[in-house]
């Protein structure tokens, strides 16, 4: 059960450990006879060089550290899958950590990753503008790429999408369709700059159209399918369209609206962000802004490899988003009638047909 080391191999092949190392790694010269002897010994003993000793000796690890807020969010799972695939192609193992959207935990997680002395780091942090974890990373000077985060004035590379622009475009589309009461629903607002940028895009579009900018509605929303309660929001603002800060939340919002007896998109339109695969499976398909998470993961690792090899400088990659029409966004119905009677209605839910 004791793992077989290079010394065992050397003994069996009657040569020095140096020669074994050279044969196994294909570095340096070796006579055919030697090569054969070593290969036989390796096969018989089932020798596999220890990455620990190996990375200690060459003071560089074949490991990548990855931090995401939560792997149960399909968008990060997809990103992780992309990272993992690209890393494997480059012969790197992937060390993974989750922050659960908690800055404190984020810092601990990054510390643990750093202790492994990885070749590089791929991070999606809560708030890049105020992240102890990023401070740590910067001080260490280890190659790092942010995913989904805007690095601000840090000298850190990033692969991002134009969250604010995408959000603005989406909301402009809603306005063009005739929506006038549009609200923004967010989860983890405090702990997600993605949410925040998307809200800003919403605000851009709404205020440009001279409509009221509602403060974001924050809902308790962690795992991905919690029940959200929109009763108060719906009764107070009676929106005709809701922008959710991500697809998972959008699906929750839709389920919640339907529980309130509201038809989506008949009475309320809903749109999200991310473009998770499951959005296409629901009926009608979710209207969303697609951001290719897998591709972003792949791009992040590719960039990281270039960075680590010193073949390029710190830089930012902007990945294109695409609008996916889906079917949960429609022109509002009975727009005029509704706004005429705005004051008089005290109904909890506003079912146009009953008025």
């Amino acid at each position: 059960m004791i793992p077989v080391t290079i010394h065992h191999v050397a003994q069996k092949a009657r040569c020095s450990v140096a020669s074994v190392s050279r044969v196994v790694n294909g570095t340096g010269p070796a006579s055919p006879a030697m090569r054969a002897r070593v290969e036989v010994a390796v096969a018989e003993l089932g020798f596999q060089p220890s990455e620990v000793g190996r990375s200690l000796a060459r003071r560089s690890r074949r490991i990548l550290g990855v931090l995401v807020p939560s792997v149960t969010n399909p968008i990060f799972a997809a990103s992780l899958a992309g990272i993992q695939d690209r890393a494997r192609a480059a012969g790197l193992s992937v060390l993974i950590a989750q922050s659960d959207y908690d800055p404190g935990r984020e810092r601990e997680a990054v510390e643990a990753l750093l202790a492994e002395r990885p070749a590089g780091l791929v991070l999606t942090v809560c708030d890049p503008y105020d992240s102890l974890a990023l401070d740590l990373v910067e001080r260490q000077g280890i190659p790092t790429v942010l995913v989904y985060n805007d690095p601000g004035d840090r000298r850190i590379s990033a692969v991002t999408v134009d969250s604010r622009g995408a959000s603005r475009a989406l909301v402009e589309q809603m306005i063009a369709l005739g929506h006038r009461r549009i609200v923004f629903v967010a989860g983890h607002f405090a702990a997600s700059d993605r949410s925040r940028l998307r809200y800003l895009g919403y605000a851009d579009a709404v205020s440009a159209a001279g409509l009221p900018v509602e403060p974001p509605t924050e809902v308790d929303f962690i795992v991905g399918a919690d029940d959200v309660d929109l009763t108060e929001l719906v009764s107070r603002l009676r929106p005709t369209a809701i922008v959710a800060s991500n697809d998972l939340l959008a699906l929750s919002v839709i389920a919640s609206l339907r529980r309130l007896g509201l038809d989506v998109p008949g009475q309320v339109s809903v749109a999200g962000f991310d473009g998770i695969a499951l959005g296409r499976l629901v009926d009608p398909p979710l209207t969303t802004v697609e951001q290719p998470a897998g591709t972003m993961g792949v791009a992040a690792v590719s960039l990281l490899l270039e960075l680590a090899a010193g073949r390029c400088e710190s830089q930012r990659l902007l990945i294109n988003h695409t609008f996916r029409p889906g079917g949960t966004l429609q022109p509002p119905v009975a727009q005029v009638r509704l706004s005429k009677r705005r004051q008089s209605s005290q109904n909890l839910v506003h079912q146009e047909s009953s008025r």
Copy 2:
């Protein structure tokens, strides 16, 4: 940028590396003065012990190796989240690998994990009865826990659910509701013993009721939201109920049926397995058998820790599944009329209302 080592700390604190090690780890005696000097030096230099040197010295790693078929499947993402949480609580880092349901890749992945000399392994393999990867692991004798897999006659621990029994119970329920033409749709049949066991449960129930056991319909289905084409299946067998080998596939099946103009559950009932969170968000909620993936992940790591500490023997944990009614399973409509006219209909889709 060169990382600070224990020697730098020792130099700064004017003591030996041995003392630094003792203070940092809290092992062995140290005078208050020494402790203070070292702590100051550690803080000033931002020293963080290298896990590499550390694990080489104590020949044990604070790392857990995890293999799942694919992190984009929410069920494995949830399992991974559970594993990760429990591991973090125990101070272990998590190394992750994916097999993409490919036995060859599975072997490579496990080899790479093994090279890191992890403290233990948590695996979900394609086929435990014929897995080179598991052979490797067994030979190495490293503490290992299977998740979702039945270890067969291997001496490996496992955390599983009774897939076959759960499937049988589900199909019996369908039969009790009046369904007579029930088919089983699977993805990755060849590469997933979960699928296979669920099919066997289906066969158990169907044959016990004296109904025809249809061979499983395999569909191309990798990422989680591909379009599946059920045209041929529907036209040939005209099922009133479909059992999908997992929830993701069930959602795809529902979307596909609706594209064919069929109402779910009005004309065809559909049920899945796993109990992914998103199943509750669709309309109507997906009928499924819930298997608590996160809990299984947590249990797997807990078991692994006991195993590694030598506090228990290799064992198998069976986690309970629960039936989640949802709304996609209903009694079949127009059962009698349909079977009467079975021969005459050559329609691609069988819309009961139009007959």
